[in-house]
């Protein structure tokens, strides 16, 4: 009789922390660097206690300068280490844009493989936490245009562990996005022991046959809630968690759309030029004649950011009610 693998219930913060801890313990090439990751243990306490266990040489409180957090990590990676850089909030990543896009993404390419850049950049993103203009943004669309980068955005603890392990093992630069509202909101079983989930693989989190919903991050959880609500109304909705944004899983999306014949894309980042635009274009190119309804996107509005005031934040965010209503409309189309 098969014995179930031992597992532990963790929230998303604990899953990140657990995975980083194991990486630092098992691979002396790894280190973490960023603002306040040492004595403070990161502003969300992800690296709390690390500096005592692994020392300040591998748990580096950097000067407050994001371009050099990423840039120094690139140099470490080029010299054979496996750095895990942290940008304290995704909103602070803009000063490091050149290092990520101009340098990390092109190191292997411009040297024709003579140098590589096995680097992970972790950062908390996303809103719904009263983070106002500079502690709420989604940044994935700014980076997913860039060949040479990989981007993952898991939102379940077991996925976080498997994908963060895969990102650390990956021989190329990976941007690892953690939705900060899910940090303590989402709990789940996390298998013990080392395992990886391949980058670029989506996961069907709620099976259904009348509509495909593609999402990632916080909204996956809301989409599952909405799908469960619709199930009580007799409407069957499939929810796909992308998990990886670059590369992205065409096979899982197309298989689902060919089955359900309808597609709703939901993401928190702005609609215009967002991830949903690429998914919609791909489905239109590959499965246009399988569709029974126009593709629909439910995304962040075309404004620079969500405001601090609660009504401004709520207006920016897509509610579970709005998702459920969009699903109903599309199923009935």
């Amino acid at each position: 009789m098969a014995v179930a693998a031992p597992s532990t219930v963790m929230n998303n913060v604990e899953a990140v922390r657990h995975t980083l801890y194991e990486a630092l313990k098992n691979d002396e090439r790894t280190l973490v660097l960023g603002e306040d990751v040492g004595a403070r243990g990161n502003v969300f306490l992800i690296t709390k206690g690390f500096i005592e266990e692994f020392g300040p040489e591998r748990v580096i409180d950097t000067p407050l300068a994001e371009a050099s957090i990423v840039g120094v990590a690139i140099g470490m990676a080029m010299e054979g280490l496996r750095p895990i850089a942290e940008i304290q909030f995704a909103d602070f990543i803009y000063p490091a844009f050149n290092q990520i896009v101009g340098e990390a993404a092109k190191t292997r390419y411009r040297s024709n493989g003579d140098y590589t850049c096995p680097l992970v950049i972790r950062t908390p993103y996303g809103g719904g936490v009263r983070g106002a203009l500079s502690h709420s943004v989604s940044i994935e669309a700014l980076f997913y245009h860039v060949p040479g980068l990989k981007i993952v955005a898991p939102s379940f603890p077991a996925d976080i562990k498997g994908l963060l392990n895969a990102a650390i093992d990956d021989p190329d630069p990976v941007l690892f996005l953690e939705h900060k509202k899910t940090y303590r909101l989402v709990k789940g079983e996390v298998p013990s022991g080392h395992y990886t989930i391949p980058l670029g693989k989506a996961d069907v989190k709620h099976p259904g046959d009348a509509l495909t919903v593609v999402s990632y991050g916080l909204y996956v959880h809301q989409a599952i809630d909405a799908a469960q609500r619709l199930a009580t109304e007799g409407l069957s909705v499939e929810v796909i968690d992308l998990r990886s944004i670059r590369p992205m899983d065409r096979g899982t999306i197309l298989a689902s759309v060919r089955k359900t014949r309808k597609l709703l894309i939901v993401h928190e980042d702005n609609k215009f030029g967002g991830i949903g635009a690429e998914i919609a274009a791909m489905v239109a190119e590959e499965a246009f004649f399988d569709l029974d309804a126009p593709i629909r996107r439910l995304c962040g509005p075309d404004v620079p950011a969500m405001g601090y005031a609660l009504p401004l934040e709520e207006e920016f965010m897509v509610s579970t009610d709005e998702m459920a209503e969009a699903m109903r409309e599309l199923v009935r189309f």
Partner: protein
């Protein structure tokens, strides 16, 4: 009492005659390759070239201070002599100019953007100062692994010291006491913008004070003095003494690149006023005056270098371009599609 007439002495900082002649040849090779790039561009054979005429002393001196097989060089795009001096094959310079498949970057990079992991020559982009955090990261890796005896040599122009990444890098290295030397090849011009428009201070080296690391000034037209200054700084770094900012004063005699026309922003008189700094004839005179080489020796060296560059030019030109399909390789490890 009349003073004894003494022959002027040469401060050679422990360098043997052979090493001094090696520096002369490195400087001649650099200048010849520089000129070759501009010639090939004017002949319509290559789309672009960059020169470092005036930087030869900095390159020859600092290359000799670099320990091969041990140190890492993170150069910028005006470092052809330095890259050759640490062991890069001169054919690579021409393969880069002609963008041939046999170039280490496979014909991807602009000329003068070299890479050679094997000899510790780090790949760079053209984005000013963006390479300096990488140099700091490499130095951090050396310190973390307790590889005493290794150090990083990172170079840049005076214009680069305006960039945020320059300041972030120098600060990071100073805070962590890293084994790195920041070598500023201060040639007074950032394309058309003079140094006075880059900074309100009189001298780049003053910036070291703001970050708590030692600064050193050296006449970059003098390869022996540059060797001594860079070697002192690298030795300090290798021994765990932390980073140093070295400013080597030199002058850019050519336009920024073949696409630039410096007549639009500086006078011919200004260039001539700096001609006495030209390191190549200056070092030639030193060698001859102190009996380290005869004029004939130097002439023979010039002929040998020109003949080599001619031969390498023909070899590189005859080699093929990369195949169009090479565009798609080395984006990531293995093959890739953005959609899986």
């Amino acid at each position: 009492m009349a003073e004894a007439i003494t022959k002027p002495t040469l401060e050679r900082h422990g360098l043997a005659d052979e090493q001094l002649r090696w520096m002369m040849r490195n400087m001649l090779l650099q200048r010849t390759l520089d000129n070759r790039g501009f010639q090939l561009n004017r002949q319509g054979k290559i789309p672009f070239a960059t020169g470092s005429e005036g930087h030869e002393g900095v390159h020859a001196g600092s290359a000799l201070a670099f320990v091969r097989g041990q140190d890492v060089l993170v150069p910028y795009y005006r470092d052809i002599g330095l890259c050759l001096g640490i062991g890069m094959d001169p054919l690579q310079a021409l393969l880069g100019m002609f963008a041939r498949a046999a170039d280490v970057s496979g014909g991807r990079q602009f000329p003068n953007h070299y890479t050679n992991h094997r000899i510790g020559l780090m790949s760079i982009s053209s984005i000013i100062a963006a390479h300096l955090p990488h140099a700091v990261g490499a130095a951090y890796a050396m310190k973390l692994r307790k590889q005493s005896g290794r150090a990083v040599l990172a170079t840049f122009g005076d214009g680069a010291t305006s960039e945020g990444e320059w300041h972030e890098s120098v600060n990071f290295a100073a805070v962590h006491g890293l084994p790195i030397v920041f070598l500023c090849e201060n040639n007074e011009w950032a394309i058309s913008t003079p140094r006075e428009a880059q900074m309100a201070i009189a001298d780049v080296v003053q910036k070291a004070d703001g970050y708590g690391l030692p600064g050193a000034l050296v006449d970059g037209s003098d390869p022996i003095a540059t060797y001594a200054a860079v070697k002192t700084a690298l030795d300090r770094a290798r021994a765990g003494g932390g980073p140093t900012l070295v400013k080597a004063k030199c002058y850019r005699f050519l336009s920024h690149t073949t696409d630039d026309d410096d007549r639009t922003y500086r006078s011919r008189e200004e260039i001539e006023r700096h001609r006495h700094l030209d390191p190549v004839p200056r070092f030639e005179r030193v060698l001859v005056e102190f009996g380290i080489a005869t004029s004939e020796d130097v002439s023979a060296m010039k002929r040998e270098v020109l003949s080599l560059v001619n031969e390498l030019t023909d070899r590189a030109e005859a080699l093929p371009y990369p195949a169009p399909s090479d565009l798609y390789t080395n984006v990531y490890e293995g093959t890739h599609e953005p959609w899986l």
